[in-house]
Symmetry: C2
């Protein structure tokens, strides 16, 4: 199994990406990695660690894509960037099964859509981030922003690729799939939701359990939520944002009075556990599903552990079985002759 | 000022609605109220309180609309319900300026849309709930679910009616209006968002400050967020749901160990303040804006205080000045001759 790691573009790049890559390498004896980025800088960074040099390859890419680059410009003008080099090798090198990056999302979606082939039958790739639920489990949201305009058929495809992903990357058998809607009743929502509801209900390859209201995302009742990229983006960011704002406010309150601070000292472990549970770095990156090859997008602020988790994720998804299962599910939807 | 109160349909109806009505009556000497619902039950309930009988009128309506009633059936078959009677009087009685209900949302939207006239020029009425921010302020979300399919022009109208609402009901001068989007840059989002961005930017009657990502709803940087009813619904419910799930989880954690419980005893006042800040009952109902008359929808679980706050809200909005201001802003948008 060969994976390619974009070593630049994140807030803690390249140190975190390289350390994360070496941590992942230790975990999987049959894995080898290609690192893209400024070769000299990568070599300097590698010197700080001991590792199996036989399983590491460096591809020089002096340029870096930043959040300021327009996606279309990034593709056109920054061919020598660590991300575009990685995309280009992912496209051409048959041996490379997947890629991990912590770089700019917009440029990644644009490049992946244009350069990396889609699984046969898939209309558009979709993002699927993973969030921790309050029951200690996880929930995937597909799509979280790759496609703002979708059709009912695309929502069904997102259910299929998301289900396969949760099975192969997280060991969930027949994940419970819900459709994001403004009410739980089957007739709720606009025409898109009503049409999608029928398609999801009738698809035997997935385990559709009905509509979900956004308030229930963290309830642990669902494994995968299917939605258009606009409302999926609103859902994920509102959930994360509220959690962050609330914890910030709580901290502020605790620090406002000595009595509260004393109380918090007794709860030190509790807050540490809480923070750990809410820490996205533990749950892996957001995966761009539907492509022929694996693409994992780690958070921009990923540390070494987060990068390692992303690589582990890519490893689990890249065996071929996941895409075969998606292919079979799509084939089953084709009209019988 | 005469307002009509639907006394049934909420979880704590009619007791909470009637007590809330009498509390509001004490607050506003120039206000009189019409109560709809089963007259005998209302009279029994009124006996428990002392009040100015001259300013209370009862309109008998033996039937009640429940969450199980389909909106269209509710309008057609439950004409004798407390909500439909209230809507019908609001429509015909020139003296009645507004209405407060804690009953079913779907039936209310359908009845209000069909029976109550809109402000001249307004395409569709829109819901505007109020949420508490982490800075101790409030933020309105318009629309939160009345219209799932909208146009850019409708989003602009929502900005105008929402701004006037925040001015008259909450004393906010030139409220900061944001457009809900998947990124803050002006070119973000689908065609609807791009078109709406231009209209909002060019409208002199409102104080448009740009796009907002859902994670910033509680930041205190915005007074009003404009969005389609689908993503607005996702936004509000995700925000409320996450806050509730998080506090529930925190409570569960605290109760899991004696040490944590001891800590929480020191923080008793802090958690009480926190709960109070998050309590929607303090912030009033969700208002259906754009109608010729005021319609306030209190939460189904509203207690007497929440009902009182809703009536206070309706009182502040119903003087005529708010709708005049909306009319003027709409007129300013008309092409010059």
């Amino acid at each position: 199994m060969k994976l390619i790691i974009d070593c630049f573009g994140g807030d803690k790049s390249p140190a975190a990406n390289i350390e994360g890559a070496l941590l992942a390498l230790e975990n999987h004896a049959d894995m080898s990695l290609v690192l893209t980025g400024d070769e000299e800088v990568i070599r300097e960074e590698l010197k700080k660690h001991s590792y199996d040099g036989e399983r590491i390859e460096i591809v020089h890419a002096p340029d870096v894509i930043t959040g300021e680059d327009k996606p279309t410009d990034a593709i056109r003008l920054k061919r020598e960037s660590s991300m575009m080099k990685a995309i280009s090798l992912l496209r051409t090198d048959k041996e490379i099964a997947g890629m991990v990056t912590t770089g700019a999302t917009g440029a990644l979606i644009a490049a992946a859509t244009l350069r990396i082939g889609r699984i046969r039958g898939i209309r558009r790739p979709a993002f699927c981030p993973i969030l921790p639920t309050m029951t200690g489990d996880i929930v995937g949201v597909c799509d979280s922003g790759a496609n703002v305009d979708v059709t009912a058929e695309m929502l069904l495809q997102q259910a299929i690729i998301g289900s396969a992903y949760l099975k192969y990357a997280y060991g969930k058998d027949r994940p419970r799939v819900a459709l994001l809607n403004i009410g739980v009743e089957s007739e709720k929502g606009d025409n898109l939701r009503k049409e999608a509801y029928g398609l999801l209900r009738d698809c035997v390859s997935i385990n559709f359990v009905g509509n979900m209201e956004s308030r229930d995302l963290l309830s642990g009742k669902y494994d995968l939520v299917v939605c258009d990229g606009f409302s999926g983006n609103v859902l994920c960011k509102a959930t994360e944002g509220t959690a962050m704002e609330l914890l910030k406010k709580l901290k502020e309150q605790i620090y406002s009075k000595t009595k509260y601070k004393l109380g918090a000292m007794l709860q030190k472990q509790m807050f540490a556990d809480f923070k750990d549970m809410m820490n996205y770095q533990n749950y892996g990156g957001s995966v761009l599903l539907g492509c022929e090859k694996t693409i994992v997008k780690g958070h921009g602020s990923s540390n070494a552990t987060a990068v390692k988790v992303c690589i582990d994720q890519a490893y689990r998804m890249s065996g071929g079985a996941m895409n075969d299962e998606i292919g079979a599910a799509l084939k089953a939807l084709e009209p019988k002759e």
